[in-house]
Amino acid sequence: MKKLNKNFWVGIIAALAFYGVVQVLLTTGIFTDVTRSMLLLIGVNIMLAVSLNLITGITGQFSIGHAGFMSVGAYTSAILTLDYNVPFVPAIIAGGLLAAVFGVLIGMPTLRLNGDYLAIATLGFGEIIRIIMLNTEYVGGASGLSGIPAKTTWTMLFLFTLITVVVINNFIGSTHGRACIAIRENEIAAEAMGINTTRYKIIAFTIGALFAGMAGGLSAHTFYVITPGSFNFLKSFEIIVMVVLGGLGSTAGSIVGAVFVTLLYTYLREFPEWRMIIYSIVLILMMIFRPSGLLGKTKFSLGKFGKKEAKANDAISENSAP
């Protein structure tokens, strides 16, 4: 426990130092606007990856609809600041909360589904949100909303990102997070040991959606414009790539994955058609050389425990029912 606390403070101090250095480089003009928007995008993507990791990496629920939650947060907060003059921070939080409501709503019916079916249902959710926005005149239809005030400062973004990482990590490192990991590890055993698995899946989706929604709002107030197309399933896929690349189940991994993908994204800006190809190649290389992700916790490393695990699986296959 003490060790955990020490790591926590080391992390916080490192993050604050990073913040300070960037802040100085920005104010002195050494960092250009291009670098600045890249940094903001990295923060947004870290929030997205860390929140998806809670759903997919920790709780083991495959979701291809994360951009849908982002979209709800982006549109909500943009409408609030544009049309209702709501101050920036409350608008972002409101966007996150509405996304969280969607997390609960999506959670309840879809969580009876498993594996492929859940993936398809979440994909459907993301697409439904996109099509609703596309056909709603009030939010600009296909051309989306523009003129959103660029209120996302480096300081704001840093704070939101830090809060996301700390809160989600706190959750994971508690009995509640362990309940989610137990669902991923063996749902039947988790349920048999007294874990209300449905409740915890919904909690994971809700918390994940809350932070994805806030990320959406911050992103909308960074880039002036949002269109339904910014939140299509390719964006969801991109978030999955970050999480998988970093190592499913590892918050640190998700952060590294988000940074890596954002850099790729930025440098491939001129060749958008190449992006998906490069993502795919990177994923394939990873499957071959580092199957547990860039930072996959040694704990979850397949190489080390693969043999023992295979044995345990043999035992299970001898009788498919519990």
Binding site: M1, S174, H176, I188, A189, A190, I195, A315
Partner: protein, 260 residues
């Protein structure tokens, strides 16, 4: 429902379960008094594990009722049945394989945790107190099972015998009144088996447990159980003390029939 001053903890009335056309259990009735250690035996495919699955809510009985501690639990969700006081182990070990030994046991204490989601997310003092409590209790259980020195080991790194013991430790951590053990000695050598049986007898006393034990090894069951139920092809064919069961012609036939 008075069974001569004893209290009935588990009362199964004509419970049946079919899978498609297969009748895995037909109208099984049995009862267990508080404090008893009951054996459940029968040839392969007799329906023993299916009965456990009904008792723990993995699936509901097709017909019939299950009463635990004067409350009907037939068709209740597994986690609720666990909260009501029935915990189990699995015939094919189901540990949380990439979690540590300690974390595996901590999961069972989750239901008793008093710190909320929010105190944990904000790391309020109550969170640390609650987590420390869970860690302490989990270590206490691990000590009983001689697993405390391996508490930080990943569960899948344990030997087969220790994985089985960890499953029992985990079930015990949930704080059950009724402990259901599905072939806990399977795959263990005679020494390990003997130690395990002594341990089961000991925790039974120490934790005031009622135990239902599925076991293939006849001599083992005969040695420790107060009473034995015998299942064959989904039907209850005998019920009695070990001596009665040993000489019951139906039981002998069921077991001989299996070998033929």
């Amino acid at each position: 429902m008075t069974q001569s001053a004893k209290t009935v903890l588990l009362d199964v009335k004509e419970a049946s379960r079919s899978f498609g056309g297969l009748k895995a259990l037909s109208e099984v009735s049995l009862h267990i008094d508080t404090g008893e250690l009951i054996g459940l035996i029968g040839p392969n495919g007799a329906g023993k594990t299916t009965l456990f699955n009904l008792l723990t809510g993995v699936y509901p009985p097709s017909t019939g009722s299950i009463i635990l501690n004067n409350e009907s639990i037939g068709g209740m969700k597994p986690y609720k049945i666990n909260h009501k006081g029935a915990a189990r182990t699995f015939q094919n070990i189901r540990l949380f394989t990439s979690m540590t030994v300690l974390e595996n046991v901590k999961i069972a204490f989750h239901q008793h945790a008093r710190h909320s989601l929010f105190t944990s997310m904000l790391r309020l003092p109550k969170h640390f107190k609650g987590e420390d409590e869970i860690t302490q209790k989990a270590m206490d259980i691990l000590k009983i099972f001689d697993l405390d020195e391996q508490s930080e080991e990943v569960a899948s790194n344990l030997s087969y015998g220790n994985q089985r013991r960890l499953e029992i430790a985990r079930a015990l951590a949930a704080g059950p009144k009724l402990l259901l053990l599905d072939e806990p000695a399977a795959g263990m050598n005679p020494n390990e088996t003997r130690d395990l049986m002594n341990l089961i007898a000991w925790i039974r006393k120490e934790f005031d447990l009622t135990i239902l034990l599925i076991e293939h090894d006849m001599s083992l069951v005969m040695g420790v159980c107060d009473r034995i139920y015998v299942l064959d092809r989904g039907m209850l064919i005998a019920n009695g003390t070990p001596t009665e069961i040993r000489s019951n012609p139906k039981v002998i036939e069921a077991y001989l029939g299996q070998e033929a």
